[in-house]
Symmetry: C2
Subunit: 331 residues, 2 copies
């Protein structure tokens, strides 16, 4: 569902009475919900599921798990347990589902967590994902709000998974490119999140890049933080041949919906062409963490390479007084 | 997905290493997963979603919410928060989805909880449900294991929702019967659960009756508790005209799958005919709680009527030594 239609449907829910224990809910939407259960523990809840993005069922399960758990990492939390969400056709081999579940369980185990249950329904088209439960200290939650002018914007995974998986569906992807994309999507954002949490007050805001693409999620952070952003196109990490797949037209419907929704809020330099723009709007599956940090925190984060990678891709700016709306600018 | 196919696919997951904090997981499957976060608090996680069971979108949302939260109540817990799980066709009016969400949010509010987020995907067929997070004291968890010979078996809602909603789909249900079924499915198991929890050690085992029908869920409890059960057909509460809809052939595929899977484990008295049997196998949506209790606890539970209703429907028996498998008997 596109961001605009979804926002409209959810609007009535954002005014629901919520207990004080609900630290993060729909009234100020973030990557996941957070509920304080005592002074030092808050429970994180999130869920994500989707149709296969790659043919290999093991890789699909692993990617779906990394993607679902990423919301917990985007809040600075640890994963405790996860519940399988399965929609599966009666006429599709259950051995394939076993592989999906194995890929997911291995990935959840990598997160130090465990698959603890599930719900399965019969469906025409297979879908898989997880409902994930995590834990975070109530005073150390990373949210989308809090970015400050002067902050650096950092990103932890290359862009282009929407383009590559679309080319894959059309049988037009180079196997080595697909392998790289799969490795990237299977990778947990756990160490990335732990690195941000270790910086403490040096990290002002964080989210993860998924269906709304880099600009969609950057926009959400800018709105919640009441700031503008400058993003430097030349600094963006890209998956191998991502531009090639954009040139070949492997652009998803999601990218078009993202662009239609956000174009009024984004100023993209005229020197950037349609191919560049396709990458900016490309929806990501299991994308990286995106954070706004105090520049003093950058050297220690950059020093973690190559074990934990961050690319510095822009800066946070003042929200312009003469603009009616928060503005992202891309050069 | 049928119980047998599902069990096969999930089997490898049941041997996964699990931390000591996971009090209830796939290794001994119950209604929901439970993870201890400190000495006095354990987090419950569960998820459920399905296609519309009734035409009225508000009622569908309310039923889906009551059904999903029921797993928390079956564990003796309280609901903290819930996440919308939405699959919605692009060409289906979003005003209908708004009604589904409103029905669900009202029902979650009745539970003293809050809708705190969600995940939405585009799908050919609409589906809705919730991922629910609850809380329980780690020493007061109600599980399927623990039923003892001599216990009474009690049930808190009438049977027949599968038959009535199937007749509804075929436009062959009396409106007043449908209303009664909808009211029953919308009703939370919260007070029922609280009544069981108040009995403390007098309640030995509990679960809720959903897709596997009365006998399927009773069977799960019998297996986990290593006991047999006697169920008295004449004592079963039924929705109005439930037998009529069975006679008219409004029997779901789920009922047939339940029967095929469990027939070897169940002895049904020969005087009970196909119509009686259809009710025993009928899959329930948002069914009641089913518990095995010490007979001394019965008077105080029965005294809660009419505010909280329990029907006494049978007794727990010794697992017969001469039988290879746990046996349910229905008279």
């Amino acid at each position: 569902m596109g961001p605009e239609a979804l926002a409209q449907v959810l609007r009535p829910l954002t005014s629901l009475a919520a207990p004080a224990e609900l630290l993060v809910g729909l009234h100020k939407a973030d990557d996941a919900a957070v509920y304080r259960v005592n002074d030092s523990q808050a429970v994180i809840s999130t869920a994500d599921f989707f149709p296969p993005v790659v043919d290999d069922p093991y890789a699909f399960g692993a990617i779906a798990a990394a993607n679902a758990m990423s919301d917990v990492y985007a809040m600075g939390g640890q994963v405790m347990m996860a519940i399988n969400l399965v929609a599966w056709p009666d006429n599709l081999e259950s051995a394939l589902l076993s592989e999906v579940l194995r890929g997911s369980a291995d990935t959840v185990a990598q997160a130090g967590a465990v698959i603890a249950g599930g719900h399965t329904i019969t469906d025409k088209e297979p879908k898989y994902g997880l409902a994930v439960t995590g834990m975070v200290h109530p005073e150390h939650i990373l949210t989308k709000g809090g970015a400050k002018p002067g902050d650096l914007l950092i990103l932890s995974k290359p862009l282009g998974t929407g383009l590559l998986t679309t080319a894959h569906k059309r049988d037009q992807v180079y196997p080595s490119d697909l392998d790289t994309a799969i490795q990237s999507m299977m990778q947990l954002n756990r160490k990335t999140s732990q690195a941000l949490v270790r910086e403490g007050a040096g990290v002002h805001a964080a989210t993860d890049i998924t269906g709304y693409g880099l600009l969609g999620h950057a926009w959400e952070m800018a709105v919640q933080s009441l700031v503008g952003m400058h993003i430097e196109y030349a600094g963006l990490p890209l998956l191998p041949n991502a531009r090639h797949y954009a040139e070949q037209g492997h652009i998803t419907g999601g990218a078009q919906r993202n662009e239609a929704y956000l174009t009024p809020h984004v100023r993209i330099d005229a020197r950037l062409d349609d191919i560049d723009r396709a990458l900016l709007w490309d929806p990501q599956t299991s994308g990286g963490l995106f954070a706004a940090i105090d520049p003093v925190a950058w050297p220690s984060l950059a020093a973690l390479a190559p074990e934990v990678l961050f690319w510095c891709i822009g800066t946070v700016t003042e929200q312009k007084q003469d603009e009616a709306q928060v503005l992202l600018e891309v050069y």
